[in-house]
Symmetry: C2
Subunit: 446 residues, 2 copies
Amino acid sequence: MALTPPPHTTREEEQQHNNNNGCHMNLAISPNCTGETQANLSAVINHYVHTLNHFNLRNLGYPTNQNFNYDALAPLLQFHLNNAGDPFVGSSFRLNSTSFEVSALDWFANLWDIQKNKYWGYVTTGGTEANLHAILVGREQFPDGVLYTSEDSHYSIFKIARIYRMQCVKVRSLISGEIDCADLKASLLHHKDRPAIINLNIGTTMKGAVDDIDLVIKTLEESGFNRDRFYIHCDAALFGIMLPFLKAASKIISFKKPIGSVSVSGHKFLGCPIPCGVVITRSEYINASSRDVEIIGSRDATITGSRCGHAPIFLWYAIKKKGSIGIQNEVENCIANARYLHNRLSDAGIGAMLNEYSNIVVFERPLDHQFSRRWNLACQGNIAHVVVMQHVTIQMLDSFVNEFLHKRSFSRFEDYGSFQPLCIAEKVGAANCSCSMHNLYHDCAC
Amino acid sequence: MALTPPPHTTREEEQQHNNNNGCHMNLAISPNCTGETQANLSAVINHYVHTLNHFNLRNLGYPTNQNFNYDALAPLLQFHLNNAGDPFVGSSFRLNSTSFEVSALDWFANLWDIQKNKYWGYVTTGGTEANLHAILVGREQFPDGVLYTSEDSHYSIFKIARIYRMQCVKVRSLISGEIDCADLKASLLHHKDRPAIINLNIGTTMKGAVDDIDLVIKTLEESGFNRDRFYIHCDAALFGIMLPFLKAASKIISFKKPIGSVSVSGHKFLGCPIPCGVVITRSEYINASSRDVEIIGSRDATITGSRCGHAPIFLWYAIKKKGSIGIQNEVENCIANARYLHNRLSDAGIGAMLNEYSNIVVFERPLDHQFSRRWNLACQGNIAHVVVMQHVTIQMLDSFVNEFLHKRSFSRFEDYGSFQPLCIAEKVGAANCSCSMHNLYHDCAC
């Protein structure tokens, strides 16, 4: 019997799996319906909450902190809150939360070393809107600029280039996932007559690699790009909050360097029921490009118009509740647990990689599709990853590894004893690969 | 003493007014703080809720239905829900609500006359993202198309044209606020060698005017634009839900006409704590332009990446709870109350206008800035408007009109008896203006 191949379900099968959320309810709305009773509606919601609780127990693959409690904010569900416009100008729609928003933004600005009167920013609907804003700021600075980003960048960056009608150069990555500055240099020299807009990953979605900002700046200078001919955006979706709390990495993200903007997701490390993000840029860029809008009594400098008023309160509340000490403890704990998982996988002979400063453990993709789904893993090609967030305990990791090993041993029997770990050297490097060839190589090297 | 001019506060004064939300709390977050106590956090939130309740009583100027109750959904605040990707494909992030989303989308598709297997759409973060998506779909169809939109369009449309690097022609509007098809024709003929992407307002933000879709299509045909050379997007932010429930207007928005997309805000008529929207387009456009994204186990066809999982549940819940009959009653009630307000203002000699099918009453801008702020009015030049939503009662309208008249009579005294109503004929037409000149004209006409 052949080795079970990675499953190739049809789109219809995938849709059925993904879309029902384990919630086998008839949610259809009849066109000419009378209003549903409160009892029936509550029954649907209760059933849904039950299925969510089930998934929450094994949510390993995505960088969303599920460990939060916003019960005290439930009364705010009574209001439509809307921060349309510029948070620093406020808006004539009085049911806003811009005072919370500005307090949260001030905290992020301080975290990334930029003074209050030097920065501008806002709470976005997520990382993509933050990137949309930041790259637009870059394009406004350099209308004919070329966008450079590594092949490990989030898919939104390539989409944004297409949307914005910008030429985008995909730069090679190193095995770690970091941008390859040798390839960047070659690309820069190829387009040296046009300014450079550079998207850097702090860190990458799949491998948690942190692009080397200082080396990129050096590369730009060596390639003849002075500071008035480049714009750097740092997409720090997950690590934007984590790195400043790691002693060895605390100075990586800093506006004292010639960078133009930093973005972070709000729902990732801090945890938030709804997706949100933060973008911080230099105020000089915004003053030149925004427009006053009388009907909202504000200034239009954001991508979206109506903006969620709840998200800034969630962020403000999370930061206030945890405090700096609390956040630091959470960061250290996530990194320590990620190292624990990495060690357990490596000790068990499963190819795995963990970058410095990262809580994302990359490893060979489980062959059992149901197992991946059960643990909500994110997969790409022949690798998968676990993002060790605050809700991921040592007990969860132990259960995960034990079950993984059990499933793997089962595959071996299916294959009459000839089971071979996948070769993932191309993705994680030979030193991190456990396939028979590279394993032998490790032994020799020892 | 001269007539009090419309107030011109400085940006700093405006910021102070707008940003504090009447919430005089110190919300600053110290960089090296320990975690705040639950008691202190709850005190801040309770105080904020108190100020919100105060504003909620006089919220007349914006199209946000404040009359909702989602208490039954409070347990969902425990979860981060994320619909990243295509709602019809689902996602490998299991904590999603795509099953609710698809049910809500099906309802909208049916409302606007397009079959399930013929449409594609998603729940956006608001009207602007819906417009961003729709106009991108138009641009994907016609990369060199010219965007046409009336001068009364929402400010997002002009921003989108700039972001998308599209040539945008601002077409004149009629006094009602509708697009002027004579000017549209002249513009089309001026660019007849390039396809047309047309944004129509159903209705406009300030005056609630409904662009005449049929007349626009006729104008396109008369100008030599066949159906394969134009794309029409209908920005139906507020009226997208209302018109289908008005007998005389129920067929205005229909995919049986050659339109490409329709968008609506979710938080406007239905009411929702957080901003959201819906965009519906023809599936044939999407299948050609979307991309599979393995890491989320879905297809990327949306503007944002991570997408709010709560918003689709709010929409689903609101529609289910009200039912068609409930929505129809609410629509009729809003329109009837808008007519009541229009009559009361006109009877009192205040220049005012109310378009057909509209719940937006436009009138001369109150001279007292504090009065406008107190009632949360939206103002533009020398006009203001009230949007008669579900939370706006006859009692509120009576209080508003009485206070308006009182303030106005006070202005008269200040001006030694020579008070003159503002002339707003240019904005609302001579027939709706109450200034001394046009009032005299009305008398003559009678």
